[in-house]
Amino acid sequence: MSDKVNLRIDNIAVSVEEGTTILEAARKVNIRIPTLCHHEDLCVAGNCRVCMVEQKGSDRLLPSCAMPVSEGMEIQTNSLKVRSARKQIIELLVSEHRADCTRCYKNGKCELQELASEYIIGENGFIDLVPLKVLTIDNFSPSIIKDDSKCIRCQRCVRTCDQLQNIGALTVAYKGKDMKISSFYEKPMYEVVCTNCGQCVNRCPTGALTEKTYLEQVWSAINHEKKHVVVQTAPAVRIALGEALGMPAGEIVTGKMVSALRRLGFDSVLDTDFTADLTIIEEGNELLQRLKKVLVDGDKSVKIPMTTSCSPGWVKFIEHTFPEYLDNVSTAKSPQQMFGSLAKTYYAKKIEVEADDIVSVSVMPCTAKKYEADRPEMRSSGYKDVDFVLTTRELALMIKQAGIDFASLPEDEYDSFMGESSGAAVIFGATGGVMEAALRTAYEVVTGREVPFDDLNITPVRGMEEIKEAAVKIENPLPEWSFLDGVELKTCVAHGLSNAKKVMEAVKEGKVDYHFIEIMACPGGCLGGGGQPIPTSPAIREKRSQAIYREDSMKPIRKSHENPEVLQIYEEFLKKPLGEKSHELLHTHYTERNRY
């Protein structure tokens, strides 16, 4: 244990570990120092200079986010010198930012706006630099809008893209007055390696990076007389939506959310969790079939390890970065897209509405889902399977616009059919969840027994560790699966694309011999998705994760293959996993993409 360092901040004595920054030390004694470039998930940058503080005896101010404490320091966070410098820095940032606040998507949720209001940035600021520059808006991507005129160059997005995700789609270009955040050869975001994960959107302090919103289109559909609007909600939305509506992190708001969706006017309020269960059946069977083909038939064309395909950010990542492994990706569509193709086929027929009149909306914790819904492969119903994708944040906005007092809503239940789900589906929203759900089902299919973990909780694949490994030994399988007797099923779970890259590199180098890999593009899995409420931090994600596993444990059904509606859809429509209908509607293929 290292020695404690003693210092005084605003005359309050503080004692902290060596290596602590002044900012962290100040927070310990509840002194808030404003920051902009700082983010708990990212490395220290020290470039916005908003957090400057004064040290007694020192002429220059210190960046509290980057400066480690030292013994005997006397820090002032609000001296006249600090206030004057800080105010000027905020004024400078405002001068290079298109301060079109009332027309901005982030109005009321912008960290610069908040500081400008706190420091009363008045009329007599600096010269407005925005009209003097050519700053473009890139709105070509179906997921993300990048508006350079609102960028304050804090580089949170660059650090997110480079360090957290190890993509490098966003980078700094030029210097001096021309310095800006750009991409390879300044190409639009949709042409480069951007996976649409939206982690940059989650961390952008201003309106420079936002999701592309489809709110108006959804309102129009809802208000259209003839249209039957079907909405599906992803597992991770129900444990985070409350945050965007004034509730603390970690509240489960499933019932209230369903109520709200009905109040908003959606005709069918259904659950992506239903198709998450379906995904487990399809993907689990695909895995077993692959294992059989490899282990028994020696079929060289079949690839192991198989990876999950639920995360569209991950899918686009592998298409760009490891295209030689596309055959390893499960052909099963993501739950969103399975839902979409069933909504306009099976479900339309069931409720006796023309597929043409169905508008399929999904609410996702994700920005990449907007892109996924736009992929040309995702039209197997003969229509665009999912018409509009909203983020958790957009749904919160709809609820506010409709004047609904969310907190006081009664709890309600999803419609049937395609509204029933198991606990296994709920945990899709957390890293390791798909793996756990798949193992609960696959193990039972193979052995006829429940997976040998206490109360079905496969804890080795849970938690926020970057890369998790778990092995399950198969003993005494049913006769059909005798070739798996004694096989140790090796699995790996990774979240965040930088970890995905590490896993894929290990696979490529032959260092690992996994059978099944779960990868989610976002830190923490979907619960930390790019469409989730802002802010995000390790602590917030931990609370969301606890909520997800709480929801799982409360579900009467915990295993996908026991979801009665899933059983019914096979009986009535799909017939069998990996069958003809499944191939037509529930499976897809992938495309190699450029490396920049």
Binding site: C48, R49, P63, K81, L92, I127, R153, V172, K175, K177
Partner: protein
Amino acid sequence: MTKKQLQRLDLIFKNEHDIEEILTKTFSKSNEEIINDLISSGLKGRGGAGFPTGLKWKLASEEETDSKYIICNADEGEPGTFKDREILSRVPHKVLAGMAVCARLIGARQGYIYLRGEYVFLRPQLLEVINEFHQLLDKIGLDFRVEIFLGSGAYICGEESALFESMEGKRGEPRNKPPFPTQQGYKSKPTVINNVETLAHTYSIFKYGADKFKDLGVQDSRGSKVFSVSGDTPIPGIYELEFGMSLQKFVDDFADGDAKAVQVGGASGFCVPRKKFEKTVIGYQGKLRGTSLPTGGSMMIFNSSRSMYNVLHNYLDFFVEESCGQCTPCRVGTQQLLLGIEAVKKGDQPSSYLDKLMELAEAMRITAKCGLGQSVANSFSSIVENFKEEMIY
């Protein structure tokens, strides 16, 4: 000229052919002795910041790690400075000798000369000298090699931590300090980074002894200094002079008789008006601001035909381009200063706007991340303060 001229010195540029002898002599001393020599000589960094060289070497020598580096900063980019180019063309072996002594002392096996991109023409001849030098090192048994790293033209890469970033193949952006280079420099290893001239001076100290060096100059500013003299002077060029002279003496010697201001230390230095020539001393003396001015050696003389508005405009133009763009005060502040003086000149802003700009310059000085942004205030404030009427009318 009737007035007594400043004494021209010839320590740096004297071509001496005794490298082997000097190195052998120096290597016979203990590290402590060498460090003590350097410290007692009073040698301070000649890039402009003036960090005591002996202390820098000492700090790096105390770090315990597997590899360390010595880097010669030859990214001479300050407007009006051209002395390092001259030193590297005429006496590169002195620089190399200084690097070798430092390498042995701190325990570095690899050294680099970070050569300004525009000085690429120097590379062939430098490589030849380095090759010869390597043979000498082999002969005296020092495991040390020097390579040239060519810069790409960004002014900011002369800032030591941006220079490391650039060498590591990244964008040239200054790092947060601490950690300092002697703790974590190039490739995060302890690194001594010295200006070309500083290293050449160490050679003189090893040869002639610390006392000889200390005899020159004034308190806190010891030894000689190479000045790049330009502007309104009949005799522009490179001059080695005793440190600590008064600016008046310099002007008497070098100006054309009509000097109204001297910019000391380039665009990032201070502008001294005629009325302050007498009491301004060139060198480090106690507090850096005030009457004593540290300098990387750039002396730009302006006579009464010059518009100080144009001079300042030119400097700001330079900073607006050459800021790395990373930190707010420097990236945006430089633009605001430039646009601000333009607006006042055009009458779009009242002359009182200059006060706001002065405040901004001060804020930049105390908040910018590196020396570039911090020192914009030097030229800005000193020009606006002393030539306010030229800014307005």
